[in-house]
């Protein structure tokens, strides 16, 4: 029975298996290091470097030292760097290439540290990164540039689209056409000589004697001919009168439009630029263009990375394009083989960090800014890109490290990233109390908020890639400094230096990449009021010069319109006279002559008949 069993084979199997396990354990640190670097490079699109990996067996875990993750948009900077990571891991999932970490601690995490060499993955990516680094560092183009100085009047007129110019061109074209039409119509009219001759012909007709019927017929024919001629002439004159009248009306109405255009332009430019210097300085530009704006953009950048990592789950799809991409990925995965997950009380995603504690350094310890917070404590739970398997959203909390507290200041933040369902919902709540601000660059010249205390309450959420932010901030004990060249900058600084406290409300809605920002603040009204008093005289002069130049432009387009319309009025009078004369000829003289002719014809016909009858009898 046992002859078919080879007991020595058991020894061989044990030996080989033990050898295999030993090799695996020897290679494991290297495998871990390689795994972190390669998967990290896929997630972040830039170099990920690990200094050292140590293993521990009781409990099973690992420590990773000197992690640097480069920023793909700025290859000479790190997205973040970490001094040390200590993690426990479960053996069983690890055997299936699943990393399940019950506890992980990260120490010395820093954002945006400098690198000694480029962190780009390859040349093409480096070129793209450089390009985006060149533009990515610049301020958001959706935020209007703060122009601290008004442009010169001529420069303003040259670059702004003007209603005066458009109306002027329309008027010029219409004027040419109307003039040509009127001239053509008038050129066909009879002159004075011709009209005189006609009058004489009609007079001659009425003076001739009628001796017999033949004379009558001749007169009749002549009469009819003259009548036709007069009617034709009357029609031509009437047409010319109508053309002139309509042309004058058209030109008058278009001239009115042209005359109103400079006022319209002035009103529009006044609203846009605010010649009192206020429109050129807006609170949105001050805040969104400065350091606070940079922080907001950086936060959005980090959000993109987190979103990219969390969206890697094939089970999540929140819009059509993501769904299409996921379907394509799913097809590719099916072709290469895939895991099919079943319901379980102990799900096993590829990566799941159940609880992470980290110290985040916001500034270098030797930073000289007074009261600067250096470390933030964060607790993040359920980090996994397969939330459909874990059944839990990623949630986080942050607060100041206990040894960092100075006075009353307090920071609390919390939020979650929920990708379990078909709709992605991410939220953030941030609360700052007695938070010190120092040397905050504003978006105008070299203006700075040198010191202040902030009370901030911010709520933000992203639902299906639509951002909604609602934030209220109260700034107290504010001190401003800096300022650049230009009268407006100096005036702005002197105005700001009187502001000790103000409130801000920030709203942002729309696409995460380019939301519509709206800031309202009592700072805005107070700056405007202060500026009005300071710069009203300058504003009046500027506006006066602008008005003069707009009027001059209007005049250029108007040309000799006024004189021409005067001439047309005289022409209208002449045509009216001519028309009256022809009317008189037709209605009175010729009508009466017609009656006379008929009577004479009748009497001549009667006499002729009588003579003939007498001859017969």
């Amino acid at each position: 029975m046992t002859s078919w069993i080879r007991w020595s084979g058991l020894a061989v199997f044990s030996l080989l298996t033990t050898l295999l396990i030993l090799i695996w354990l020897l290679l494991l640190p290297w495998l871990l290091e390689w795994g972190i670097e390669s998967s990290g490079e896929k997630v972040f699109g830039a170099k990920v470097e690990v200094g050292n990996v140590d293993l521990a067996f009781s409990p099973l875990g690992f420590s990773v030292f000197d992690v640097q993750v480069a920023d793909r948009d700025q290859p000479m900077r790190n997205l973040f760097s970490i001094d040390a990571v200590d993690a426990q891991t479960e053996l069983f999932p690890l055997l299936m290439s699943k990393v399940i970490v019950p506890e992980m601690r990260v120490q010395g995490m820093r954002l945006g540290t400098a690198r000694q060499y480029s962190g780009a993955l390859d040349d093409t990516k480096q070129a793209g990164s450089k390009q985006s680094a060149e533009t990515g560092g610049s301020r958001d183009s959706t935020v209007p540039e703060v122009s601290a100085e008004l442009p010169g009047v001529d420069e303003l007129l040259a670059r702004e689209p003007l209603r005066t110019v458009a109306a002027g061109k329309e008027f010029e074209a219409s004027y040419r056409q109307t003039k040509a039409r009127i001239e053509a119509s008038i050129s066909q009219l009879p002159d004075e000589k011709k009209l005189k001759r006609l009058e004489q012909e009609v007079k001659a007709l009425s003076e001739g004697k009628i001796k017999n019927l033949s004379d009558f017929q001749k007169k009749k024919e002549e009469f009819d001919r003259l009548k036709g001629k007069v009617k034709t002439l009357r029609k031509e004159v009437s047409h010319a009168r109508k053309t002139v009248s309509e042309g004058v009306e058209t030109l008058r109405s278009q001239y009115q439009v042209l005359r109103d255009a400079p006022e319209e332009d002035l009103a529009r430019l006044r609203e846009r630029y605010g010649f009192d210097g206020v429109g050129a300085v807006n609170v949105l530009g001050l805040l969104a263009g400065g350091e606070t704006g940079d922080m907001a953009r950086q936060a959005l950048e980090y959000y993109q990375y987190i979103d990219g990592f969390l969206s890697g789950d094939e089970n999540s799809a929140d819009d059509e394009s993501t769904q299409a991409r996921d379907e394509q990925n799913a097809e590719q995965q099916r072709a290469a083989g895939r895991f099919i997950h079943f319901d379980s009380d102990t799900p096993l995603p590829d990566i799941w960090i159940k609880n992470l504690e980290l110290d985040l350094a916001l500034a270098e310890p030797n930073d000289t800014k007074a009261g600067q917070l250096h470390y933030l404590e964060m607790q993040i739970a359920d980090i996994s890109h397969q939330q459909a398997l874990t059944g839990k959203p990623l949630s986080f909390q942050a607060r100041m490290r206990a040894d960092q507290k100075l006075g009353e200041q307090r920071l609390e933040a919390s939020g979650s990233f929920d990708r379990r369902g078909s709709s992605a919902y991410d939220s953030l709540q941030l609360s700052l109390h007695a938070w010190p601000l120092s040397d905050v660059d504003l978006g105008s010249g070299s203006l700075k908020l040198t010191a202040a205390e902030a009370e901030v309450d911010l709520k933000a959420h992203v639902l299906n890639a639509q951002l909604d932010v609602n934030s209220i901030a109260s700034i107290t004990n504010a001190r401003f400094g800096g300022g650049g060249e230009g009268k407006t900058q100096a005036t702005l600084l002197s105005v700001l230096q009187k502001m000790k406290a103000f409130e801000l409300q920030l709203f942002a809605q729309g696409e995460v990449q380019s939301p519509d920002l709206r800031i309202s603040s009592d700072l805005d009204k107070r700056i405007k009021a202060a500026f009005k008093a300071e710069l009203s005289e300058q504003a009046a002069g500027y506006e006066g010069e602008l008005k003069q130049k707009l009027q001059a432009r209007m005049g250029q387009y108007a040309g000799d319109y006024s004189q021409y319309v005067e001439r047309l009025s005289l022409t209208e009078g002449t045509l009216e006279d001519q028309s009256g004369m022809l009317e008189g000829l037709l209605e009175q003289q010729m009508a009466s002559y017609k009656n006379e002719l008929e009577n004479k014809a009748k009497s001549k016909a009667g006499d002729a008949l009588k003579d003939q009858l007498n001859k017969l009898f």
Binding site: S3, W4, I5, R6, W7, S8, G9, L10, V12, F13, L16, T17, F92, L95, M96, R334, A335, A336, G337, R338, F339, I340, H341, F342, D343, S344, D345, T346, L348
Partner: protein, 168 residues
Amino acid sequence: MFSQLLKLFKILNSEVAPGQISAAVALGLFTGFGTLLSLQGLLIFLVVCLIRVNISAFILATAGFSLLAFVLDPLFIALGEYLLGLESLVGLWTALYQLDWMRLTRFNHTLVMGSFFGALLLCVPVFFLTQFIIVQYRERIMVFVNNLRVVKLVKASDLFQRYTDLGA
């Protein structure tokens, strides 16, 4: 050292009965289509070590079927998709999924399931076919091969002598 290695090689290849070779080839189907570095692969290897099957044949069969697997993988994946998606079997898979050691086998991977099932289907036919080929080879072809000059030269060589001496 060399003698020891030869002795080991001899021992491992002392199972030359057609059934032993055929069994080794049939077991090689599982490790060839699948992978040795899995729980089921290790179990198969344990069986191969424990049961008197020809290890050389097993190694050769594993290598040969691994090459064949490159061509058959899409078929196995499709088979795995079908089996894991079959409504009537979902209950079974769910029950197996609750067992940690079963998950180590990665049975819920389409390629693993498909290749294992494919090997399961083919192992019996392959066993009998291999046995038939070996018997026919020994009865007809081996006699012809043994009479070839090159084979006679190899058999007369030192290495072969030492190999046969070890069997004594």
